[in-house]
Symmetry: C2
Subunit: 324 residues, 2 copies
DNA sequence: ATGAAAGCGCTAACAT
DNA sequence: ATGTTAGCGCTTTCAT
């Protein structure tokens, strides 16, 4: 059998309460006792049972993370930072991939609650506002402002949109495409689109908006989208892609069509993901690390019952590289 | 307060045992009773406490996943599939990023054990064989054969190495570089290197092997490595990169140096990750999805006390694309 | 400073 | 078919 606190108590010749006390370092313990207890634990290879602890304390030190797709570099990098800070503060991470499937997202929320997680970071948003409101668990959202009462971490999508569009205008593009995933998802990312529209509307400039119908991240789908864009609008000379991954597709398609980047077509991406192949891409960099850090920080503060800002919008940065 | 099984029992007018029974659908329950219980649960918005269940059953339905870095696309994609199958079988995933830090990896193992996970999938391997042997928990490793007694899932690294090297030879490369991360990590990936050496040794061919010293995945480090390679060996006309990410760095450096790919330098990668920018890359594709699926499957079988194969080597596939 | 005992929410013999 | 009872391993009042 597995060694429990009781075995240690018997071995040392004290009560379980005392063992629990030294385990949690509460109350007055003589150094001699402490030493004996630690020795016994060492000797018997004791490992505390977190499940029992959590049940008794009503606190699990686990946080749930729900995102659309961990294999997408943006979320991969975000998750890396979230894990880092969670671990640093003694929290474990339960990873939930929704694949932007509403049913799975809902099931995961119930599962997380049943698992008694102390809080949830939501980066996937397929449900209705009402459903989110009924979660009743410490919550921080990424990139979607669900309601005034749920804290949200995002970066400045509107400014990012302006920066990217202005860059293309400054580079004298005459017909610009805005390319994105599904805009109906109510994400703050839509503001990039709005900023784009606003900027190009005033100018004597052609523009076109194209989005995928799918909610997922299918590279094949992206490929078709890009191909279609250039078929329908061969005179495009500037593309604002709402993710770096999409931008890479655009560059690839340009290469296939023999269009020189940036001479014939200028391309600006979004996200600032770090990955081979994006080094030379002009893009709007989101502070992914900072976003992950704050998401954890605010969630933990909320768990601790402290007040936290309900809206956090971090600055973005335009990176001008070789594709514009 | 939170609703418990006891509240339901009182409401329905039966004992908690009965409620537990319908919750787990064990024994004989009259339909009428079931219905009443479900109604009460619905009405009171009851949510079972998985912590209590796990403690009592001595089974948590959580599996731990330890990998070096979730932001690396190979692991991101692997994790996506692992999560998918785990979820499908009613298991939750605890994500642990080791960052190839030995201390963190060890701490995570203890943490997972303390959290009573039912098993661990290990994709990070910085500790000694002896330490792994002492884990005493259902275990499946990815890409490292720790001992004959611990099941390992991998793909055929040796054949992959042969395929990639032969491709470069077939394309008449005269001086080939093998580029990789740290080879000391005892990973099966080292077999790619061995296969490479074996193939080029017999031929009248120049070759050079270069590896990073670092244990992490630093893109900057990769960049330096590649730059250095071409400075020291400007006559390289073929590169076998042991990951697609590295291969992308090579291609980028070639572009910077004005070397045409594939005309002047042929590049073959490894992994077959799906991400913008790798579409045109010649590479050796690992069956990432299948590997993830089997890792989960074998872990669950092991948890169930069944016998499973101790060594699983899946076939790889050469994808000949535009960079060779 | 240390212990007894109740309890966290649920499961599982064993009874009836 | 349903109930009684004793845990699961740990924490936490309340005593002493």
């Amino acid at each position: 059998m597995v060694v429990t606190i009781k075995d240690i108590a018997e071995k040392v010749g004290v009560s379980v309460t005392t063992i629990s006390r030294v385990l949690n370092n509460r109350g007055y313990l003589s150094d001699d006792l402490k030493k004996k207890v630690y020795e016994a634990m060492e000797e018997m290879n004791y490992q505390p049972n977190e499940l029992a602890r959590s049940l008794s304390r009503k606190k699990s030190n686990v946080i749930g993370l729900i995102i659309p797709d961990i294999s997408h570099p943006f979320f991969g990098q975000m998750t890396k930072h979230i894990e880092f800070y969670a671990y640093k503060h003694g929290y474990k991470l339960m990873l939930c991939n929704s694949l932007l499937n509403k049913k799975k997202e809902k099931e995961y929320i119930d599962l997380l609650r049943a698992s008694q997680v102390d809080g949830i970071i939501m980066g996937s948003h397929t449900m209705s506002v009402k459903e989110y409101m009924s979660i009743k668990l410490p919550l921080v959202t990424l990139d979607r402002q669900i309601s005034k009462s749920i804290p949200c971490i995002s970066s400045d999508n509107y400014s990012g949109g302006i920066l990217a569009t202005k860059l293309l205008l400054r580079k004298k593009c005459r017909k610009i495409a805005y390319l994105s995933g599904n805009l109906r998802l109510n994400l703050l990312a839509k503001q990039r689109h709005d900023a784009f529209i606003e900027q190009v509307s005033g100018e004597d400039i052609g523009f076109v908006v194209k989005q995928t119908d799918l909610n997922g991240f299918k590279y094949k789908e992206y490929e078709n989208l890009v191909r279609q864009l250039f078929e329908e609008h061969p005179d495009i000379d500037g593309v604002f892609a709402s993710s770096d991954i999409l931008a890479l597709q655009v560059i690839k398609e340009c290469r296939r069509l023999g269009k020189a980047v940036p001479d014939q077509v200028k391309v600006v991406g979004y996200d600032g993901i770090q990955i081979g192949g994006t080094d030379d891409l002009s893009t709007v960099e989101q502070p992914i690390k900072k976003m992950g850090e704050l998401a954890v920080k605010y969630l933990l503060r909320q768990i601790a019952g402290e007040e936290i800002p309900l809206e956090t919008i971090l600055p973005v940065k335009l990176l001008e590289k070789g594709t514009t």
